[in-house]
Structure formats: structure tokens, C-alpha cells
């Protein structure tokens, strides 16, 4: 069963078409990787799945994104962002203590402050960060390492109980060890969540994803040339471009 469906989705600015006519279904409880060369619209596509791109840029969207068979434009935009969470490429903690990084978004949905501690504990436990930060919850989140910051951002989003998590190259700024921690975490999370992730790291896509959407710049805009099971994509891609891309990465 698909949790998120894109129907003929296109994005453009006044002068440029970023991606065109993309229709993809993202089934539930799986990790979906969006791969392809830089500049073919993967990140824009990802951020259009919860409407974040339109709010912060002059990019205009056409087509529909359906969540639970309903156009995302029909949802309350603030609630939708909580249900479809976004993790950015650069870890983006708020300029407060670790604790307040959770309290501020939580205060928007839950006024019972007594519950916060438990939520913070559970979220940090899930991302394996609790033992590392339990004694410094009141310290600035900026004191954490890059990997810890990214896990904090993930934990902060998990505290809001999203159903879908969009990740835009979440490990590109991290060392290999932190990357593996995040990957393990995503594999664990897919039991209950749907994960859609942009990555340039093909071995990573191969390791953790269930499906792969291959983006390519063709006829002056980004297009999805293939969307299929990960194993099939890496063993027998159907397009020449995908084969070339996989081989170039192998080199």
C-alpha cells in the first residue's frame, strides 16, 4: 500500500524547469532512495513532498502529491510538516540547549510539559544518543559533534511522531562511523515509518534502500528514468544512463 503518491509532479521557476512530470508511488515502511547526478532536481523533489519548497523559494509546483489519498494542499501546512518530517543535509539544531530543541517544537502540539522528559528520553534513546548527552541536556546543541547533531535533529523530528521522514543527503557531512550509525537507525525506523532519502552515495543506497528512483537531466529538466527495486536496479538497470551512472560511481 502506498503512503505517498506523486502524480505528474513538476517544478519550475520563472526561467527554468527543475523537474518535469514525475509520477512515483512510495509504499509504506520502506526506505526509498533518490539518486542521480547533482542538479537534476532530487532535493527540490524531496522538499516538494511536504510543501516545504514552495514556502521558501519562488519555485512553483504543478501536479499533485497525495498523502493518504488526499492532496497535501488540503492538509494544514504546519501539521503536514510534523507528519512528513524533513532532515536537511547540514545538521540544523536550533540555537538553544539540547532540551529546548525538543521543547520548542513539542510546545506547539503538546502543552503537558510533564510528558516532555519522557518524550525526550524516548526520542534520544531511539537514535542512540541518550547515553552520550544525558548529562548535558541543558548545554547548547552546538557543542555536539556533526554526527551527534544530525542524530539530535532526527530525534527531534521523531519526538513529533512523523509517519514519513524525508532526508536530504543526511550523511554527506558525516564521517563513515557516524554514517553507519545513521544507516542502522534508518533501517530500524523503517519498521514504523516510511523513509525517502536523497543520496549521492550509491553503496549507501544499495545497503539500506528497498527502492531506488533514478533522476537524470534530460530535455532541459530533471526526470525520473527508473524507479524500481534496489537489487534489480543495481544488477540490471534498464536504461543506458543508469548503467553509465552506476559504472562511473564504481570507478
Amino acid at each position: 500500500m502506498s503512503t505517498l503518491i506523486c502524480e505528474r509532479l513538476s517544478a519550475s521557476t520563472k526561467n527554468k524547469v527543475i523537474f518535469h512530470d514525475i509520477s512515483i508511488n512510495f509504499p509504506k515502511n520502506k526506505i526509498h532512495c533518490l539518486i542521480g547526478p547533482s542538479g537534476c532536481g532530487k532535493s527540490t523533489f524531496l522538499l516538494s513532498l511536504n510543501g516545504l519548497i514552495e514556502a521558501h523559494t519562488n519555485i512553483k509546483m504543478r501536479g499533485r502529491v497525495l498523502y493518504q489519498s488526499k492532496d497535501i494542499r488540503e492538509f494544514d501546512p504546519i501539521n503536514l510538516k510534523r507528519t512528513i518530517a524533513t532532515i536537511f543535509q547540514e545538521p540544523s539544531p536550533l540555537p538553544f540547549s539540547i532540551k529546548k530543541n525538543f521543547e520548542l517544537p513539542l510546545s506547539e502540539i503538546n502543552q503537558n510539559k510533564k510528558e516532555y522528559e519522557e518524550i525526550i528520553f524516548n526520542s534520544l534513546q531511539k537514535v542512540g544518543l541518550w547515553n552520550e548527552v544525558k548529562d548535558m541536556l541543558n548545554q547548547s546543541a552546538f557543542h555536539l559533534s556533526g554526527g551527534q547533531k544530525q542524530r539530535l535533529c532526527l530525534a527531534r523530528s521523531l519526538a513529533l511522531e512523523p509517519e514519513i521522514i524525508l532526508l536530504d543527503e543526511p550523511t554527506s557531512a558525516l564521517d563513515p562511523q557516524s554514517t553507519l550509525v545513521i544507516e542502522d537507525l534508518l533501517k530500524e525506523l523503517k519498521r514504523t515509518k516510511t523513509i525517502i532519502m536523497v543520496t549521492h552515495n550509491l553503496p549507501q543506497a544499495k545497503r539500506i534502500s528497498d527502492t531506488v528512483a533514478f533522476f537524470w537531466w534530460e530535455q532541459c529538466c530533471g526526470r525520473v528514468l527508473e524507479h524500481m527495486n534496489t537489487d534489480i536496479f543495481f544488477s540490471a538497470p534498464t536504461t543506458e544512463q543508469a548503467l553509465d551512472y552506476i559504472n562511473t560511481q564504481r570507478l
Partner: protein, 270 residues
């Protein structure tokens, strides 16, 4: 490199010469009475008590009016920039034009509006209000650029977390913009303290101790102008007032540098 640093040192010479001369000519007149008694004999004798009090009153009114107004305008502009980009650009342009208007024009505006139309007369209140309007554009622009940087840095993250825009403004933009608010306040304060032209038209010349804000009052800068231009034999006290004013402005400018440094540090590392 050596030429550019030589030019830099050459450029510093007139400034240092001016400050040193003012301090050398003014400070020998400094007595304890300077701060304890008001001027007498048209400013040739006595101290500067009433002048200092008038200056402080004008400055207080200026800041009480301009700080909340500038802060609210800058926050509104940050909001406008997001939803009404064209209106925000128009507002920014208007503020830039207002910043470039000579202070004497603000003086004339204050004279017509506050002194005559609102019937406040030549008073400390008229002077303070005029200065508030004069420094407002600079303060708003300083604050707005800082608020905008904060907005740019955290807006996407907060929206992705489902945080309302109003919460974002009050919980993130405003607290993080506090150093900028202090910076803008000090900047406005320095400009207001050094202002003469606008006050000549609005707060008047009286060197008596003001009994209320509706009394006429003479600021330090106006006092310097009066003693130097209209009072024969008043130059010694003009230098004393100038030395004190320079001292206060240097202190405030050092504070700007200090807060500016901490502002950058805060925006960069927090």
C-alpha cells in the same frame, strides 16, 4: 600592503588630532562643580548640570519612543519580507531615503508637527520626539538586516518542525536579535547625542534646569554651538562641553565595538 597601511595611518591623523585638541583644550576646565551646578552668565561661568540633565531627558524620550517602534517595525518587515516581498522592498527603500535626509529637515518637520501643530512648544519632549523619528530609519535597517539573517538561518528548520511563524519570531528571531537591538540602540543614541540642527528647531536654547519635559532644554551639542557662535568668551566652556561629549561618544563607540563583536560571535557560533 605597506602603502595601504600608510594611507590608513594618514587617515587616522586628522581624527586623532581633533580628539586630542578637544580633550587638551577642554579637560583643564573640568571641575567637580561642572557636574553640580548649572551654567551662569550665558554659559561663560558655572557648570553643566542643567545641560547634562536636558541631554539625558532628550535622549531618554528619544530611546523610549524609538526602541520599541524600531523593534516592532523591523519584526513586521521580517514578516512582510516573507509574505509581501514587494511591500517589504518598498518599505526598505523608504527607510533608506529617510536615513539620507539631513537632520535639519527633521528639525523643520519636528518644528511644524510637534512645536506648532501639536502645540508642545520648544520643549524637551518636542526635541526627543524629533530625534526619535530621525534615528528610527537607521535603527530599523540595522535591526531588520540582523532579523533577516536569523530568519534566513532558521526559518526552514523551524517550519520543517511545524513551529508556527509567530513562535519562531518571538522565541527565536527576537531573542537572537537582542545583541542587534542593543547595537542599534547605541548607534541611535550616539547619533542623537551628537545632533544639533534638529534640536535648534525643537527643544530650544534655554540653559535653565528643566522642571518638566514640556520645558525648553539645551542639549550638550546645542550648548557647544551657542557658546562658540553667540557668546563672546564662551569658548573655554564650549571646549569643556565638547571634551565631555567626545568622551561620552568614544565610550559609547567602544561599547558598539564590544557588542558588535559579541553579536557576530553569537550569530556565528550559537
Amino acid at each position: 600592503m605597506r602603502i595601504s597601511s600608510s594611507i590608513l595611518y594618514l587617515g587616522l591623523i586628522p581624527g586623532l588630532w581633533l580628539i586630542t585638541c578637544t580633550l587638551i583644550l577642554g579637560l583643564p576646565q573640568l571641575r567637580l562643580e561642572t557636574f553640580l551646578i548649572s551654567p551662569s552668565d550665558a554659559g561663560r561661568a558655572g557648570g553643566l548640570l542643567s545641560i547634562i540633565i536636558s541631554t539625558l531627558l532628550i535622549l531618554t524620550i528619544t530611546l523610549v519612543i524609538s526602541v520599541p517602534l524600531a523593534s516592532a517595525t523591523a519584526l513586521a518587515m521580517t514578516y512582510f519580507r516573507r509574505y509581501f516581498l514587494k511591500l517589504s522592498r518598498l518599505l526598505s527603500l523608504s527607510l533608506d531615503v529617510l536615513s539620507a535626509i539631513p537632520s535639519v529637515i527633521f528639525g523643520l518637520f519636528g518644528n511644524v508637527l510637534f512645536v506648532e501643530k501639536l502645540n508642545l512648544g520648544h520643549s524637551i519632549l518636542s526635541g526627543g520626539l524629533t530625534l526619535a523619528f530621525m534615528i528610527l530609519p537607521t535603527m530599523v535597517r540595522t535591526l531588520e538586516s540582523s532579523y533577516h539573517e536569523i530568519e534566513k538561518g532558521y526559518a526552514k528548520t523551524t517550519e520543517a518542525l511545524g513551529i508556527n511563524f509567530s513562535t519562531f519570531i518571538y522565541q527565536i528571531v527576537f531573542p537572537l536579535g537582542l545583541p542587534a537591538l542593543i547595537f542599534a540602540t547605541i548607534l541611535g543614541m550616539t547619533r542623537a547625542m551628537a545632533e544639533t540642527a534638529a534640536l535648534l528647531f525643537t527643544s530650544g536654547y534655554s540653559d535653565r534646569m528643566p522642571e518638566s519635559v514640556l520645558d525648553s532644554g539645551r542639549s550638550m551639542s546645542v550648548h557647544i554651538y551657542e557658546l562658540a557662535m553667540n557668546v563672546p568668551g564662551g569658548d573655554k566652556n564650549a571646549y569643556l562641553t565638547a571634551a565631555l561629549l567626545v568622551f561620552i561618544l568614544l565610550t559609547i563607540n567602544s561599547a558598539i565595538t564590544y557588542f558588535g563583536y559579541h553579536l557576530n560571535k553569537r550569530l556565528g557560533i550559537l
